[in-house]
Amino acid sequence: MKFACDEEQSLLADSVRRLLAHDYGFEARREIVTSTTGYSASVWKAFADLGLLGLGIVLEHGGFGGGALACAPVLEAFGEALVVEPYLATVTAAQLVARGGTTAQRETILPRVVEGTLRLAFAQTEPGARYDLAEVSTLARASGGGYVIDGQKCAIVHGSCADLLVVSARTSGQVRDPTGISLFLIDPRANGVTMRSSRTLDGLRIADLSLAGVQVAAEALVGSAGSALPLIESVVDYATALLCAEAVGAIASANAATLDYLKTRRQFGAPIGSFQALQHRMVDMVISHEQVKSMAWLACTSVDSERDEVKRKRMVSAAKVKVAEAARHVSQESVQLHGGMGMSDELKISHTFRRLTMIAQLCGDANHHLERFTHSKR
């Protein structure tokens, strides 16, 4: 069977759902969201204990291998429960190290990620760059055997939870040149680093980063200088595929809640689900869900096995366009069909709405991916 999870994956997904059902109810989540750090250390440890942080990382570094397809059921469960822990941020940045890092970097960083003692974040976006990955103007100048880095980064998802940042910076070329971009490992506590954290609409934390004369050693360079863009693109595609998988779960949860509401909420002496106008709306939401399942699978398969870079980009963009549109459609409809209750902070549905709204924009909105789908050519 090509589209269904294998047994190992289903078992893992079941354990994740059990954990979340137990530790991640609506109230527990609310406490985590409003806590100082914005995530739960004990939940994070539980993720590590279940081996979730080792997915996508090879055995040799303590991981359990697999790619986006192996990770997808976990993200789906996260989408259902609206997990706010810095999982996607950490595994995305870990992929940058796993795929591009030196042996020494991989050996020191990855095992600690797997065991849950090192959280990472990827500082890529710059003010005004929108979703263009090549628009990097943060500057890294070679100096005294290492580098000095200056620049501004913004919208770093889970930046404030990270023990270590992977930062893109220019070692040569001009803004938007595809070559000349490099990646550096930067300690958020280093001199010259300032981070300003805010909350996001969906209960996560996001940071703006200012780098002023930050000195790093030569060993902080991930891989070789000037050639990081293809690596960044493939890893952001990986993150996009996982985000699509998360959307599958969030949409499933929105649909289940809405269906339940249609069956139980009564107006005019009947369940509102007996009104055909609403039945058709619900049916369209279910169709959106099916399409998103297909596209999430396509995105995950493509990032795992598509060797042709252009084709991979087109498939991931196709998936993200569909996912963004479905996230918008389902989130809006689920709130609408809940009536006033859909607006309330006290019901989960409005929180799923907010996460789906963010999923639609993250890693590039529909316009961005439509453009990339159209223009990615050999």
């Binding site: 263009d132 919208a155 996001t200 002496g269 006033g340 859909g342 902070d345 907010r354 709204t357 963010m358």
Partner: protein
């Protein structure tokens, strides 16, 4: 929209515009245009400025302070106020309770309440919806039992906008049993929010803001003199209000201002090193919205003309509500998208540090505006009304 107005109407528009320029306080306008939350005093301050000018209740009969304007003039006035960034008129007193009292109130009720509403002495809220009765309002259950010259109220209202700021609430209550016609046995009462037994509990919405409430009534005594119209005839009152000639359903002035904000904001955002407003995909989305606005403006004027000449089909208000709210929602959505990755971070509702940058308010606003298709008769209910009243389809 100059081509649609006659010279007289244009002159009136200029008069209103000039007055607004001189009299709308800049701090209030800035709050509105920067999406900061308004407090009770903000609404009342603006209302009192309008009252002093004599423009706060244009649609009321002149004996109660109405302006005697034509429907077209009222429309122009409302469009200009919205466009200028004036605080919205809180509808519950001036646009709901006032007209009800004018139509159904006793002489004493009119004498007492109308001037107070006009001047903004009392802040009103609307107690219709209940947990079990939203779209199906006639199923409401809050009980009002007559004891001598009082009613005793027990029950609950929900989604009551601004109950936490209000001095008075008008309620639909059940004074008789639900008979064959469920609408029978409903009465319309005016209730002092300071009455013993009333508890207001905030309901936070998904944008984190507090605008609606649950209101609990526990043995609340209301003088029979505060009943409007006959006992058991509250539904007639409520229906009158629903059908009440309103000119600002589409909220065109506000949406036109928001549209300009969107264009200016998009011009300040960058994509590929150029203004986002140069991006063809985004441009198309903005253009579509502008065309929607244009279509609705003309539709609105056509409908006003039909109403003035007595050719109403009964569904105009529903059509304007549906299209008007869709436009409002699209505006908030495009604004949020224009912000790009920065839209994720939210400024707290009372964060004044980021006062001049609206970015932190955009996602919250997108969330908040989902309400517009739900309240004031959901857009589904509006479609049912069109299907029945205009098209004669069976229910």
């Amino acid at each position: 929209m100059d081509l649609d107005y006659s010279p007289d109407e244009l002159a009136f528009r200029d008069l209103v515009r000039t007055w607004l320029r001189a009299n709308l306080p800049a701090d209030l306008r800035d709050k509105v245009t920067h999406y900061r939350s308004l407090v009770r005093d903000d609404y009342l301050r603006w209302q009192r400025i309008l009252a002093a000018k004599g423009w706060v209740a244009p649609a009321w009969p002149t004996e109660w302070g109405g302006t005697g304007w034509s429907i077209m003039q009222r429309h122009i006035f409302e469009e200009e106020c919205g466009y200028a960034g004036a605080p919205p008129i809180v509808p519950f007193g001036l646009l709901m309770c006032g007209p009800v009292l004018i139509k159904f109130g006793s002489a004493a009720q009119k004498q007492h309440f109308l001037p107070r509403i006009y001047r903004g002495d009392d802040f009103w809220c609307q107690g219709y919806s209940e947990p079990g009765s939203g779209s199906d309002l006639a199923s409401l259950r809050m009980a009002a039992v007559r004891k001598g010259d009082h009613y005793v109220l027990n029950g609950q209202k929900i989604w009551t906008t601004f109950a936490h700021m209000a001095d008075w609430i008008f309620c639909l209550v059940r004074t008789g049993a639900e008979s064959d016609r469920r609408q029978d046995g409903i009465s319309f009462l005016l209730v002092d929010m300071k009455s013993p037994g009333i508890t207001v509990r905030p309901l936070v919405l998904m944008d984190g803001g507090h605008e609606v409430n649950e209101v609990f009534f526990d043995e609340v005594k209301v003088p029979v003199a505060n009943r409007v119209h006959e006992e058991g005839k509250g539904w007639t009152v409520a229906k009158y209000l629903l059908g009440h000639e309103r000119t600002n359903t589409a909220r065109l002035g506000t949406s036109m201002r928001e549209f300009e904000t969107l264009k200016a904001y998009a011009a300040r955002q960058r994509k590929d090193g150029r203004p986002l407003s140069d991006d063809p995909r985004f441009c198309d989305q903005v253009a579509r919205l502008e065309i929607e606005l244009l279509a609705l403006s003309i539709t609105n004027l056509r409908f006003l003309e039909a109403i003035i000449s007595g050719r109403s089909n009964g569904a105009e208000a529903s059509i304007l509500k549906i299209k008007g709210t869709e436009i409002q929602q699209t505006l908030t959505e495009l604004m949020m998208q224009a912000a790009g990755p920065s839209m994720q971070a939210i400024a707290s509702a009372d964060d004044t540090a980021a006062a001049d940058d609206i970015t932190g308010a955009l996602a919250r606003r997108y969330c908040n505006y989902r309400k517009t298709t739900i309240y004031a008769g959901s857009n589904e209910i509006q479609r049912n009304i069109i299907a029945k009243q205009m098209l004669g389809l069976p229910s």
